[in-house]
C-alpha cells in the first residue's frame, strides 16, 4: 500500500510554497550560472586543448638579433637531448592608421601555429589582410573594411584566430593581454616579403617530435634547448633576444588556465551556495518538526519507523533541489551557456567550438549538490527524529533537558532583553545569514570595486610616470634635446619560489636625476612599491635576480621603496649599474625626457614606452570584465536578499505563536516589529559592519592570489565609496525585506496563540 504520508506532501508543499519557490529560484539561478559557465568553459577548454594538435601549436619560440643561418638552425636542432624542428615565424609590427593600435603581422602559416578562419577568407592577394577576430570586434572592424599599415591600404578579407595568440599578449612579460590596442594579422607570403628588413622580428618556433608529457618534462627540454641555443648563437655571430617556451607563453596558455580556473571558481561558489541552501532546509525542517511534533509522535507511536518519517521530511527539500538543478541545467545549456561563451569570446581569440555534453558539469551541478543537501539534512533529521514518540507527543523536543536560561542584566529594558532573547534563540539562523551575507557582499563588492581599482591603478600610473617620454635605443645615439637624460636598463628575472619567476626591469639612474629623485648609493638599490608589495620585500632585505636568458645571479641590498606602481622595477645608480653588468662607464640604454625627442632616427629607437603600454592591464580588464561586474552586483544582491529574507521569515514563522500571544496581550504591530524585525535589522547592520571590511579583506587576499599567477602587480585598494555603496545596497535590500516581514507579522492571526501547542 502506498505510504499515506506521501499524500501529505502536496499540502505541505502548498503551505510552504513561498519558501520552496525562493529556494528553487535560488538553486536554479546558481546552477544555471555554474552549468552555463561549466558547459561553455568545458566545451571551449576542449576546443582549446584540441587546438594544440589541430593547429600544430609550437612548443616554444625564440627571437634572434639577426636572421639565423641554416647552419645555426641545424646546429640547434641537432641534439641528443631533444628531437625538435625549428620553423621561421617572423613578424613585423605597424601602427594602424584607422584605429589607435599596433598590428603584429605574420605571413600565412603553413606548418606551425595554423590559423582558424572565423569569417571571410584567408588573404590571397597583396592588398588583403586577415586580422584577429577579437581585435576586430574591439575596434569595430569588419570584413571588407580598409586598414592602412606602413603607408599601404589593405582590405580586410577575413577574421581569424591565431592558435599561438588566443590571448593577445604583445610581450611575454605583460601582466595582461591587450586585445584593444594590440592585434595580430596574416598576409600572403609575397606581401610579407615586401616588408623592410629592419622591421622584421626574427622569431623562430620550435616543435618537438613528441609533445612533452607535462610541464616538468617541457621545462627540462626547454632548458636543454636554451642551453644549446645560447651556446650556438654566438658561434654564428648572432644573439638570443627573446625566448619563451610554450608552457610559460601567456599568449598560448593564459586562455586555457583562465577558462579552467573560472570553472573551478564557479564550482566552488556553487558548493558554498548549496551548503547554505542545505542549512536553510535544515533550519526550516527543524521548525516544521517542532510544529508537527504531536503528529510525528502519534505516527511513531502507531508504528511508523524513524526512517519513514526521515524520508518524508527529506522528500520535499530533495525534490526542490533536484528541480532547481534540472531547471538550472536546462537554463545553463541554453541561455547561460551562450552568455558565458560570449564572455569568453569577448576576451579571447578562440577558435570555433562545439557545445559538448559535459557529464562532469552535470555531476558538479546536480549530483554533488543533491548529495550535499541530502547528507546535511539527513544528519539533522536523524538527530532530530531520534527522540521517543512520547517526547514528540509531549512536545519535549529539547535534548539538553532543563537547559538554564542565561541571565541578562535586569537593568536592561524588557524590550531590549526580548530582542536579545530572540537573537540568542535564533543564533543558527543568524550565523547562516552572516555567512550568506558575506558571500553576497563579496560578490557585490567585487562588482563595485574592480572599476575603481582599475581607474585608480590607471590614474596612479599616469601620475607616476618616470618621464613623459621614455625611449629604449637599439644603439647608443646622442640627442641635442636638453630634457633628455640617459639611463641604463636591463631585464632580470626573479628566482622561482612561492611566486612564479617573472621579469624585473633594472634601471641605472644618473646621479642627481631630474626624473627619478632617489638618494642612490653604490651598494644599495631602491625597488618599486609594486615589486615590494607583490613580493613582500622591505627595506634592508637582500634580493637575488637571475639573468633573463642565462643562469648568472645578481644580489642587491634594498635601500628603500620608490613609489612607482607601473612595473616591478629596481632602481640603482647608473655607474653602479654599468659596473655590475660589465658595461662601459658611459654605457646607456635610453633616454628619459619630458619633451619628445625628434633628432634620433626611428631606426635607432627600439621602443618608446608610453602610457598606453603601462595601462593596458586596466584597459583590458575593463574591456573583459566591465559588463560582468554588473552581473556580480545583481547576483550578489539577489543572493543577499533571498538568504536574509528566507532566514528572517523562518524566525517569524518559528515565533508565530509568541507573536500571536503578544498581539493578544495588546502589543501593537509596531512594537512586535520592534522585537522581531528590529533584531534582524540590528543583526543586518552588524553583519554589514563586519562583512563589508571582511569582504574587502577577502577580496584583497583573492587579488593577491590572483596576481601570483600573473607577471607584474595590480594593487588592490579599498574605497570608502565602495564601502558606502555596499552598505546602502545592504540597507536598501533589507528595507525591502523588512516590508515583506512587516506584512508577514501583520498577518499572524491572533488565533495562533490558541492552538494547542506547548513549547
Amino acid at each position: 500500500m502506498r505510504n499515506p504520508l506521501v499524500k501529505r506532501l502536496p499540502s505541505e508543499f502548498k503551505n510552504e510554497l513561498g519558501k520552496y519557490i525562493v529556494i528553487f529560484l535560488f538553486m536554479a539561478l546558481s546552477v544555471s550560472f555554474v552549468s552555463g559557465w561549466s558547459v561553455a568553459g568545458g566545451s571551449m577548454a576542449t576546443a582549446y586543448d584540441e587546438s594544440f594538435e589541430k593547429y600544430n601549436i609550437e612548443d616554444g619560440n625564440f627571437e634572434l638579433y639577426a636572421k639565423a643561418d641554416n647552419e645555426l638552425i641545424k646546429a640547434v636542432e641537432d641534439s641528443d637531448r631533444y628531437d625538435t624542428k625549428i620553423y621561421e615565424n617572423f613578424y613585423v609590427e605597424f601602427p594602424t592608421k584607422e584605429v589607435d593600435s599596433t598590428l603584429r603581422i605574420f605571413k600565412k602559416r603553413t606548418d606551425i601555429n595554423l590559423e582558424c578562419l572565423m569569417d571571410g577568407e584567408f588573404p590571397s592577394s597583396d592588398s588583403e589582410i586577415a586580422i584577429d577576430r577579437m581585435y576586430a570586434d574591439n575596434n569595430s572592424l569588419n570584413v571588407g573594411d580598409k586598414l592602412t599599415l606602413h603607408g599601404k591600404e589593405y582590405r580586410i578579407c577575413g577574421l581569424v584566430a591565431l592558435s599561438d595568440y588566443s590571448a593577445l599578449f604583445s610581450s611575454p612579460s605583460d601582466m595582461m593581454f591587450d586585445s584593444i590596442k594590440f592585434g595580430v594579422a596574416i598576409v600572403t607570403a609575397d606581401t610579407f616579403g615586401t616588408y623592410p628588413e629592419d622591421k622584421l622580428h626574427y622569431v623562430y618556433s620550435w616543435k618537438y617530435a613528441e609533445r612533452p608529457a607535462d610541464n616538468t618534462e617541457a621545462k627540462k627540454l626547454s632548458e636543454d634547448f636554451l642551453d644549446k641555443l645560447s651556446e650556438e648563437a654566438p658561434k654564428y655571430m648572432n644573439a638570443v633576444t627573446g625566448y619563451i617556451p610554450e608552457y610559460t607563453n601567456q599568449a598560448i596558455i593564459f586562455t586555457g588556465d583562465d577558462i579552467k580556473g573560472d570553472t573551478a571558481f564557479v564550482q566552488m561558489f556553487l558548493y558554498i551556495i548549496v551548503v547554505i541552501i542545505a542549512f536553510i532546509f535544515a533550519i526550516t525542517t527543524s521548525n516544521t518538526i517542532a510544529k508537527e511534533a504531536v503528529v510525528i509522535g502519534t505516527l511513531r507511536a502507531t508504528g511508523y519507523t524513524k526512517w519513514e518519517i526521515v524520508r518524508h521530511y527529506l522528500t520535499l527539500p530533495m525534490l526542490v533541489v533536484f528541480a532547481g538543478a534540472v531547471v538550472g541545467n536546462i537554463l545553463g545549456y541554453t541561455v547561460l551557456k551562450d552568455y558565458a561563451a560570449s564572455a569568453y569570446y569577448g576576451s579571447y581569440s578562440l577558435p570555433t567550438y562545439v557545445t559538448l555534453w559535459n557529464p562532469q558539469a552535470f555531476i558538479n551541478t546536480t549530483v554533488i549538490p543533491i548529495i550535499i543537501v541530502f547528507i546535511i539534512d539527513l544528519l539533522m533529521l536523524t538527530r532530530k527524529l531520534s527522540l521517543s514518540p512520547l517526547q514528540f507527543i509531549r512536545h519535549d523536543l529539547s535534548r539538553r533537558k532543563k537547559k538554564k536560561a542565561f541571565r541578562l542584566n535586569t537593568k536592561i529594558g524588557i524590550m531590549k532583553r526580548f530582542r536579545l532573547r530572540v537573537l540568542f534563540q535564533n543564533m543558527p539562523n543568524y550565523i547562516i545569514m552572516i555567512i550568506g551575507a558575506l558571500l553576497g557582499n563579496v560578490l557585490v563588492m567585487f562588482g563595485l570595486v574592480l572599476g575603481p581599482v582599475l581607474d585608480n591603478y590607471q590614474q596612479e600610473i599616469t601620475s607616476n610616470l618616470l618621464a613623459d617620454h621614455q625611449y629604449l635605443l637599439k644603439a647608443q645615439v646622442e640627442t641635442e634635446n636638453k630634457d633628455a637624460e640617459k639611463f641604463s636598463a636591463t631585464t632580470l628575472k626573479t628566482i622561482e619560489g612561492t611566486l612564479k619567476s617573472e621579469e624585473i626591469t633594472v634601471y641605472g639612474i644618473a646621479k642627481n636625476s631630474r626624473y627619478v629623485d632617489l638618494p642612490l648609493s653604490d651598494n644599495e638599490v631602491y625597488i618599486s612599491n609594486a615589486y615590494s608589495e607583490k613580493h613582500g620585500i622591505k627595506t634592508g632585505d637582500e634580493i637575488t635576480l637571475r639573468e633573463q636568458f642565462g643562469s648568472k645571479e645578481y644580489k642587491f641590498r634594498v635601500g628603500g621603496i620608490y613609489y612607482y606602481p607601473s612595473t616591478l622595477t629596481v632602481f640603482m645608480d647608473k655607474d653602479a649599474f654599468n659596473e655590475k653588468f660589465d658595461c662601459d662607464k658611459d654605457y646607456f640604454t635610453g633616454y628619459f625626457s619630458k619633451s619628445e625627442i625628434s633628432d634620433i632616427d626611428d631606426l635607432y629607437i627600439a621602443t618608446e614606452i608610453t602610457v598606453d603600454d603601462l595601462t593596458k592591464v586596466s584597459r583590458q580588464l575593463t574591456r573583459s570584465m566591465g559588463n560582468m561586474m554588473n552581473i556580480f552586483v545583481v547576483f550578489g544582491v539577489i543572493m543577499y536578499v533571498l538568504i536574509i529574507y528566507l532566514l528572517s521569515k523562518i524566525i517569524i514563522e518559528k515565533n508565530a505563536q509568541s507573536i500571536s500571544m503578544t498581539k493578544i496581550l495588546g502589543y501593537r504591530n509596531s512594537e512586535i516589529n520592534g522585537i522581531y524585525i528590529a533584531t534582524t535589522a540590528i543583526v543586518t547592520v552588524v553583519t554589514l559592519l563586519v562583512t563589508i571590511p571582511l569582504s574587502d579583506y577577502v577580496l584583497g587576499q583573492l587579488f593577491v592570489i590572483f596576481m601570483r599567477d600573473y607577471p607584474g602587480w595590480l594593487p588592490y585598494r579599498s574605497f570608502v565609496s565602495v564601502y558606502v555603496k555596499t552598505a546602502l545596497i545592504g540597507i536598501g535590500s533589507f528595507a525591502v525585506i523588512a516590508l515583506a516581514l512587516t506584512r508577514k507579522i501583520k498577518k499572524v492571526p491572533l488565533a495562533d496563540a490558541l492552538k494547542n501547542v506547548d513549547e
Partner: protein, 232 residues
C-alpha cells in the same frame, strides 16, 4: 453595567458544514464579579470569551465595557482595548518560550502605565526563586501561575480565563483557582472564566450556563464558597 454582552451571534463554516456557535447571547457582568461560563464542549463558551477578548469577532451583536463597544473599534483600537482592559489566562499557558519567568511577567508589565511590582507579584505567586528559569523548566502549575502573573501585573479591568485548570491536576487546579480568587479580592478585577468543570461554578458570583450556543441559565450564585473549599 461594566461588561455588556448584547445579542452576540457567531457561526463557523459554510453550507452543509455551517455551525451556529453562538445564537444571540445576552449577558451583563458587574465590575469585580467572578463570572463562570459553564458548558460542555461545543457549547460556544470559548468562542464567547474570545469575542469578549477581541481575539475573534462576532457576526452580529456587540461587547461593551463601560459603554465602549468593541464592534466599533478598528484593529488599532482593539489592540488598545486589549492592552488597557484585558488580561488573559489560557489552558496552555502560552508563555513566550525563550523568555525567562520574570521576563514573561515583565512583558505584561510593559503594557501598563502603572504596573504592579514584578518582584512582589513573583513572590506572591511563589515564583521568585524560579524567576531566571525558562518556562519549560517549570511544572504546569508554575507555568500557569506565571501566566496569571503576566495577566495581573498590568492590573487589568477584566481577567479572561479560558479553562485555566484544564491541564492541571486537582491540587494544582485548586491552588490556581484560589490564586485567581485572591487576585479578584485584592485588585477588584472582573473575572470571566470558561470551564467545563461544574464544581468551579461554586466559587463564582455569577454563573452563565451555555449549551448549543445559547444561554441556558444565568444567575447570581447565592452560595459562593471559597476556592480552597471546592471539591470535585
Amino acid at each position: 453595567m461594566f461588561l455588556t454582552v448584547k445579542e452576540i451571534r457567531k457561526h463557523f463554516g459554510e453550507g452543509d458544514s455551517r455551525v451556529e456557535v453562538l445564537n444571540g447571547i445576552d449577558a451583563e457582568i458587574e465590575k469585580g464579579e467572578i463570572c463562570v461560563l459553564l458548558g460542555p464542549s461545543g457549547s460556544g463558551k470559548s468562542t464567547l470569551l474570545n469575542i469578549i477578548g477581541g481575539i475573534d469577532s462576532a457576526d452580529s451583536g456587540y461587547i461593551a465595557i463601560n459603554g465602549e463597544k468593541t464592534a466599533d473599534m478598528n484593529e488599532k483600537k482593539l489592540t488598545l482595548y486589549r492592552r488597557k482592559h484585558l488580561g488573559y489566562i489560557f489552558q496552555q499557558y502560552n508563555l513566550i518560550p525563550n523568555l525567562n519567568i520574570k521576563e514573561n511577567v515583565e512583558i505584561g508589565a510593559y503594557l501598563s502605565d502603572n504596573p504592579l511590582d514584578t518582584d512582589e507579584i513573583l513572590k506572591t505567586l511563589g515564583l521568585y526563586e524560579h524567576r531566571h528559569k525558562l518556562p519549560n523548566q517549570l511544572s504546569g502549575g508554575q507555568q500557569q501561575r506565571t501566566a496569571i502573573g503576566r495577566a495581573i501585573i498590568k492590573n487589568p479591568d477584566i481577567l479572561l480565563c479560558d479553562e485555566p485548570t484544564g491541564a492541571l491536576d486537582y491540587k494544582t487546579s485548586k491552588d490556581i483557582l484560589k490564586l485567581i480568587s485572591d487576585v479578584n479580592k485584592k485588585f477588584g478585577n472582573t473575572v470571566v472564566m470558561v470551564t467545563h468543570n461544574d464544581a468551579i461554578k461554586n466559587m463564582a458570583d455569577r454563573v452563565i450556563k451555555l449549551r448549543d450556543g445559547m444561554i441556558r441559565k444565568n444567575y447570581l450564585n447565592e452560595n459562593k464558597i471559597a476556592a480552597e473549599d471546592l471539591d470535585w
